[in-house]
């Protein structure tokens, strides 16, 4: 999972720097700071293998916004922001997966990487499309969009809550048969006391 995260971090930094090179004559600082942040994140993830600080994500997303606000197209800032998001997510997912578990771990990482790249592509494509159709933002439309977003978010949270009940973690498992449990209740001194299930 670490290579996935590293690739997204690199992409984010390069996209921000690329935006600066192409269109950032007035404010070149965003690209340079973005690249430095990405480098620091890269280094941390490389060394520790499980660094997924949200601070890096917020900083890179903020820089992407600032860079997009300077004008010059939405492609590279949206790539930078989305790549930062997926890098952050890959770091979190990587912490749940043992790097030293060979076969199965790689299979999960491959699927995860594929999905992330597809989602990044879709996100950037939709963002580009939105810019292409040149949606004019009136105050009414802005308020309408904000309300729609809020409503969508509330529905999402509601759906999530309904699917889970309380909490996110699930406990499940097999406590063993009655016979096995009776075996475990024997006195500790008994030599037939095994405690394991054969």
């Amino acid at each position: 999972m670490r290579p996935v995260a590293l690739s997204f971090i690199t992409l984010s930094g390069l996209a921000l720097f690329g935006q600066t090179l192409l269109h950032g004559e007035s404010e070149p600082v965003f690209g340079i700071v973005g690249l430095a942040l990405a480098a620091a994140w890269l280094l941390l993830t490389w060394k520790r293998g499980k660094a997924g600080p949200s601070a890096f994500l917020i900083a890179l997303a903020g820089l992407s916004c600032a860079s997009a606000a300077q004008g010059g197209g939405v492609l590279l800032p949206s790539v930078a922001a989305a790549a930062a998001l997926f890098a952050w997510d890959a770091c979190l997912a990587g912490a749940r997966l043992r790097a030293d578990a060979e076969g199965g771990s790689r299979r999960i990482a491959r699927r995860y990487a594929l999905t992330s790249w597809i989602l990044l592509g879709i996100g950037v494509a939709v963002a580009m499309t939105a810019q292409w159709i040149e949606l004019r933002l009136s105050y009414g439309l802005a308020i309408g969009m904000a309300l729609a977003l809020l409503l969508g978010w509330l529905i999402a949270v509601r759906l999530l809550g309904a699917s889970r009940g309380r909490g996110d973690d699930v406990k499940t498992g097999d406590e063993g048969s009655d016979q096995e449990q009776a075996g475990r209740r024997k006195s500790p001194g008994s030599p037939s006391h095994t405690g394991s299930i054969e």
């Binding site: 997924g52 917020i58 997303a61 916004c65 997009a68 606000a69 004008g71 197209g73 939405v74 800032p77 949206s78 922001a81 989305a82 998001l85 997926f86 997510d89 979190l92 997912a93 749940r96 043992r98 578990a101 076969g103 199965g104 999960i108 699927r111 995860y112 594929l114 999905t115 989602l119 990044l120 879709i122 950037v124 939709v126 963002a127 939105a130 933002l137 802005a142 969009m145 904000a146 969508g152 978010w153 949270v157 759906l159 999530l160 996110d168 973690d169 406990k171 499940t172 498992g173 406590e175 063993g176 475990r184 500790p188 001194g189 008994s190 006391h193 095994t194 405690g195 394991s196 299930i197």
Partner: protein
Amino acid sequence: MSTRRRILTATLLAAGIALFGLFTRQGSVLALAIPFVIYAMALLLSDLMLKTPTFRVLRAFSDPRTHENEEVEVTLSIAHDDPQPVLVSLEDVVCDGMRLIDGEPWIVRELAPGEGATTTYSIAATRGQYEQRHLVGAVWARMGLAIRDIQLRHDSQLASVPHYETLQEIEIRPKRTHAFAGAIRTDRAGSGLEILGCREYVLGDDIRKINWRASARREELIVNLFEQEKMTDVNIIIDARANMHQQIGSEKTFDLVARGAAGVASAFLRQGDRVGLLIYGDTLNWTYPAAGRLQMESILHSLAQARPSSREAFGRLRFIPTQLFATGSQLIIFSTLGSEEDVAVPEELMARGYSVLLVHPDTVELELTQAVGKPFSQLARRVLNLHNQVVLSRLSRAGVGVVNWDLTEPLAVAFHNAQTETRGVRR
């Protein structure tokens, strides 16, 4: 971070970017929120579609009763009953005190419907009674986006009992024995193996006991008298007060004492005596006296669980509950006797009619192995040895059997030295 938090974070960021875009009235900024929204929606959808199947877990130790630091193989199997394939990453939580030697205590793979997976790994455990319970991990969405943490429980117990050395016959003279034949000499004539003395033949004596050489010398029939050998109750008391024990280098003195006590218990049980065990320090951990191999297992399990403790209720050795021990029985105390009050305890027990044997774990030499080259270490050694000699000779004079056990040597050597010394004094 759980899937819910991931969705929340992405949504909040999307909302923040959107608000910034609306505030600056920049469509290009607003468009940056779109990848975040798509990610949050995909994650939500993935999470809603992710089912957590019921897993069946089996964990088996190759030997659920092992000796400390011996390798045990653990076989872990999981299976699920979901009609869909499941991507799972699970790790067995190895207890504190166990160390992984070989193999992988985790399973990370895709399980086909009804399929199971097995992994095998080896561990070694220090002395203790272990209950391995949980497996932690996650179920992954098939496309790898949503992750649901799971914790499976399956209780497996492992007893890691102390290693102990085989001791030769330990000489004790309890004041009371049982009616059954055993190995403890009683100073009374009866059926035994050791000759107690001779007397004139009287009608009814077994002719096989006639001492022909003595009869020839005395010109009358003389028979040998044999010493009765009976079984007895031996109560082993371990002083488990935390301030009586220490860790010196890699060795914990309590572990050494536990091994020593196991060796002593084994020696008496082997010769048919009843052995009880009291671990004095944490709770009143009392193993009632009994004989046989089953009792040895009980004692080993008690010793496996034993830990030094600093509970106030057991702070003073003089509060040993003597009502547990049969009057006149043999007490074997493993204690360093840390204070003047402690030194008086064996004397008091003697006065109450018990036969007392004190096994005194002497840590001086062991401590010196860690203090090589330090100034005054030899002087400290002399002072401590003198102090021990004063205390132990005082107890010896009071009739307490004393075995001074240098912890750098096997306990058998200490018993051998003590018995050689006692025989020398008798001669």
